[in-house]
Amino acid sequence: MGIPVKLQAFEGPLDLLLHLIEKNKVNIYDIPIVEITDQYMEYLHEMETEDLDVMSEFLVMAATLLDIKSRMLLPPEVDEKGEEVDPRDELVQKLLEYKMYKYMSYELRDRQDGAAFHYYKQPTIPDEVKEYRPPVNIEELLGDLTLSRLHTIFRDIMRRQENRYDPIRSKFGSLKREEIDLSGTMRFVQQYISGKKTCMFREILVLRSGKLYKIVTFLTLLELMKEGKVAVEQEETFADIRIDWTGTDDGVSEEEFAQDYA
């Protein structure tokens, strides 16, 4: 199903979220997280951006939404005062703040239109006045600057420079941008799971490198759970996740998989 809105029109994940909230005419303080997350994911799928920086920002928000969504299913957390914590609170605060500045930017735009009709004048100071430079009183200027202070300043700069210098990355020679093909990666993860029938989450993570790959892998897993194609099990928090393929369509066999991705 196509979405008739140009995705590039959104300046970022918050902008897109605000749009969805307004479009659905829902209350920002009581976001129906399931619907909004679904719609958000739908937009994400439609997104055809080559810009990885932009994409990763949208993906981070997707992960946040999914996290909130899952926390909404759990029994409510309670803060130190014994009050229930709404998992949506932090997001709501962010959205409100963002919305406020967006609103202020419209105010500024209006102001600008009113202020544009003044002309100013170039300086017409006579040259001899313009070129006059008062003599610099060096003693006064340097004041109580001592050699040891100058020395300390230099030492601090060198220390900062060393801190900036990253001995590990600098050995790489040149840094490559992380390249990731979103739909390809999702297919890859799905094929891997369906091929193995049963596997561990960490096992998939080490197949490829990069933060984006990890995010996409996690998203894919959530997606497969939603579609009922996998069943997952985790014994305790932070433990590895066991994934069982329960999908009906035939997965790719291990041999084929090995051929494809050798």
């Binding site: 202020m104 105010e107 202020a115 017409t124």
Partner: protein, 189 residues
């Protein structure tokens, strides 16, 4: 110094300098204290208000500058080149409004609020001279701090940062009230 002479001197100074001139510099030049000078300038501003005058004095954060009256714009564009109008995109305006209200602010803080990288927008704003570096934050990495310029005040017709349109508390309250009402309605259903 006689009042008339002081006014004449100030007009000459502002005219010749073209740019905005700090109150203290004007005061020193006419050999008066700052408060007297301010009073004289405010008195002059009244005088410029008459219909026969085409220019006026505008105050910018404790400095003063001469400019044409906006209602005469139509005559000016018939002779003078139309000043290039700065077109600020939504992204740039959004970033600018965050900087204006939160200054001094680092790029990272801007990005936190907007949820996206803002380098490009900040660089544009510095290029347009609406935003400038204010120094560095005393924190790891010593990130740059940004704030607005005098050109920013001029561009938006503000006399100081205190003139910034306030976030209308009524409006924000409206948002809240709306929200609560909706919840109420749902509960009653």
């Amino acid at each position: 110094m006689e009042l008339g002479k002081a006014e004449a001197a100030i007009e000459a100074i502002l005219f010749a300098m073209g740019d905005s001139v700090e109150l203290e510099r004007i005061a020193k030049a006419i050999e008066q204290d700052a408060e007297t000078t301010r009073k004289i300038i405010y008195h002059m501003m009244e005088g410029y208000r008459t219909d026969r005058r085409g220019i006026q004095i505008t105050e910018l954060d404790g400095s003063f500058q001469l400019c044409t009256k906006s209602e005469l714009y139509e005559y000016l564009i018939r002779v003078a080149k139309q000043p290039k109008k700065l077109v600020l995109t939504d992204v740039v305006l959004e970033t600018l409004s965050i900087i204006a209200y939160k200054q001094p602010i680092t790029k990272l803080e801007i990005e936190k609020i907007r949820g996206v990288k803002s380098d490009h927008a900040v660089n544009r704003l510095v290029e347009y001279n609406l935003v400038r570096e204010l120094g560095r934050l005393d924190a790891p990495g010593r990130p740059l701090l940004f704030g607005t310029t005098e050109e920013f005040l001029r561009h938006f017709g503000l006399h100081s940062l205190e003139d910034l349109p306030m976030i209308n508390p009524v409006q924000l309250e409206d948002f809240k009230a709306e929200a609560e009402e909706e919840i109420q309605t749902k509960l009653e259903v």
